[in-house]
Subunit: 442 residues, 2 copies
């Protein structure tokens, strides 16, 4: 079913056919269709869906459409959606919608759940607590496989996953985990404690989502238990949420590397004022830092005037900046992926010295030849060539090592990316260029 068919059917009021066709397709696809319709049509179609499918579709919608739908539907309908939603989706919804809607949603929840919701809303943003869900299967270690399977059958319907069950002891402390695979493949009478995994990898409610993503990547898990400070099991995190976390963290890295204050709001949804606010701080800092280039230029004004040297400076600075950005990007990404650590700083340095020299010499020679032919001035050709060798090597070294040092100083390596490197390289390039010019020309 595509958008065209759907709007056609809507126009002809063939509602039962719409319903029949929709229930056959994926919930994510229904959500995509609902986002494309206008809100009037969307609510019409949404109301046609069976209750369980409706809640599932709702969880795939973007926040904007979720808010619109929630504010239109009746209290009864809202309660139905809310009750069918997984707990983590419920929390996400409450965190995003306007205050009056939050009130309505909370009114549709029981007292116990309201207390739980409040507790979840208090976990720091981007922490395990804010990512986890409470819908997991809990088992006791003295159960047999048969009893465990019975419990899963009885309670599994509304769990986020039944593929891993969590074994808890007194006071809900986490004692082990067992996969459905092991349960299915084991004899019915086996005792859980004999086959459960006791070397459980878990995270704390306050652990950061970046760390959690690393744990998932390292162990290839589908889900991960979350415990509180008393080692009590309070929730689980599933891999589908981690995929979103990885994308979110990557977006943050991209933004930092372009000297933008990170934001989670989608580009097209962000207001002009907010976009300007996120971009200005670093632009101002970098612009004022560039005052240093003016000072260097001023100081060497006699050289510039006498030999018309200014014409080469843009090319020199941009080439140096590009070379530095290449090194910085490679190293920043390697740090993010855990491939480069602080102990590798000298290996990075030594690699960048050699790569920088190799690249610099190539660029230097090429440009030397070019200028010799275009400007017919062997001295300037040599000068520019030499400068390129020095600045490219310098840029590679700075670009490669500064992110590693930043990481050691507990700064985000990403801020040592292109714009920052460019500013440093710009000043250095001018200093090197005028030094070489003085040596050769004066």
């Amino acid at each position: 079913m595509d958008l065209k068919t759907l709007t056609e059917l809507l126009k002809n009021k063939q509602l039962s056919q719409i319903r029949n066709e929709l229930v056959e397709i994926q919930e994510a696809d229904i959500a995509e269709l609902l986002e494309e319709l206008n809100i009037k049509e969307a609510i019409l179609v949404f109301r046609m869906l069976p209750k369980e499918i409706a809640a599932e579709v709702f969880s795939f919608l973007d926040v904007e459409r979720q808010s619109e739908l929630s504010s239109i539907v009746s209290d009864k309908e809202l309660a139905d959606i809310i009750n069918e939603l997984n707990f983590d989706d419920k929390i996400d919804l409450i965190e995003e919608v306007p205050a009056n809607l939050v009130k309505r949603i909370l009114q549709q929840s029981t007292v116990v759940e309201r207390r739980l919701i409040n507790q979840f809303l208090n976990y720091p943003d981007d922490s395990a607590g804010s990512l986890m869900t409470i819908e997991f299967v809990g088992l006791k270690k003295e159960m047999t496989v048969n009893e465990a399977m019975e419990k899963i059958r009885r309670t599994g319907f509304n769990k986020e996953t039944i593929y891993t069950s969590y074994v808890t002891g007194t006071k809900r402390t986490l004692e082990g985990i067992i996969s459905l695979k092991d349960l299915v493949l084991s004899d019915k009478h086996t005792i859980i404690s004999d086959i459960m995994e006791t070397d459980v990898i878990y995270v704390n409610t306050h652990d950061d989502q970046e760390y959690i993503a690393e744990v998932f990547k390292k162990y290839d898990f589908l889900s991960l238990p979350v415990v509180d400070n008393e080692n009590r099991l309070v929730g689980i995190i599933t891999i589908d949420d981690i995929v979103d976390v990885i994308e979110e963290e990557t977006t943050e890295d991209f933004q930092r590397m372009a000297a933008i204050e990170p934001t989670e709001i989608e580009y097209l949804d962000a207001s002009v004022l907010m976009l300007a606010k996120k971009r200005l701080p670093w632009l101002v800092i970098l612009m004022f830092s560039a005052y240093l280039t003016e000072m260097v230029m001023n100081f060497n004004n006699h050289l510039i005037m006498q030999f018309a040297l200014a014409i080469y400076t843009p090319m020199l600075m941009s080439t140096g900046g590009n070379a530095g950005a290449q090194s910085a990007t490679l190293v920043i990404r390697s740090i993010t992926l855990g491939e480069v650590k602080f102990k590798d700083v000298f290996r990075v340095l030594w690699k960048e010295i050699r790569v920088g020299l190799m690249v610099g010499c190539t660029l230097g020679v090429l440009n030397c030849i070019r200028i010799y032919f275009t400007d017919d001035d062997p001295f300037k050709a040599m000068m520019v060539g030499l400068t390129l060798i020095c600045t490219t090597t310098f840029a590679a070294i700075i670009g490669g090592t500064l992110p590693v040092v930043a990481k050691k100083l507990k700064l985000d390596p990403a801020i040592m990316a292109s714009p920052m490197i460019t500013t440093i390289v710009d000043v250095t390039t001018l200093l090197i260029f005028f030094k070489i010019a003085t040596l050769i020309l004066v």
Copy 2:
């Protein structure tokens, strides 16, 4: 168990204690320890591990260590590892190790498997075929839930996942899927065809991994079936491999955005020559493009000489470049995440015009004031301020729209990132600056 304890125990030859402690911890953790040891100790420890654990640990090792271990162990041991490995890990291994090892590995495989391996090696890099594994559970639609569970119990041990089973008809065509959750939660006598999902989302062996990752993200799947051109089920892809794909694609984007030819080799493992080769092409192109800046500078040499204008050019160019890089990065990332499409090009344009003007005016006014005080020249202050407003706005527009246009032209939007934008903005900045200078000063 940490590295220190392990080396201590190794020194004291307490091998049985090592074994007992290792079998208790995660395979990924054992692999990490093995990577830290020297190869002699590593092989010693590796040989202590029970067969099933050894293969699992082996699949977590990095390629380098896998090669080293494979080349040392006996044919018998190699056969044991190879037999226990999942098929996709086997293929990965064969793709990465030296040719003589490939020969040894193939000798340890059966004729049937050798034929299959050859078929898999022929799938294009980064295609579904190269990502998939053949270890899935296949069911028939006329089976009952009970029979299905029996089959899973019988054959599930060495499957990559048993959480989704695949229902095939005659000639192995894919007819439906069913999750273990549905099997466990259904009555024993239900017929599979009554409860299986028939709206199956699948990919073709030749589909690109970037597309496959998008499918996983959209539907929150744990696994995905792969069919050939005759719609026959040939394999499945699981989410853990997709997490790696997402990281790989992101790394490629980072590299392209820094004007580096993409490579999958880790930074520290890449040779100096190879790193230089990946960086040079774009540096040379961008360097020669910067010849345009020399032409503009040359053409306006009389202005530069008469009014000492060169001193402001580095700051103007770098600020413009930074502003352009910000817009480009935000838009490139949004395109990657599917948030911005070609139809949004005018929304992007209109947004960037306003953000650019807002940011440009702020920067322009700030710098105008600064230059008025440092250089005591109201004309130059005004000139530089005006130029900043124009170039920042221009940079924002170019940075925001070029990636969208590139995508439409089937180019990778990532190449329209910082270095490319900087080069365009550099030339434009100079043109604008000298134009404004002529108007104000001459």
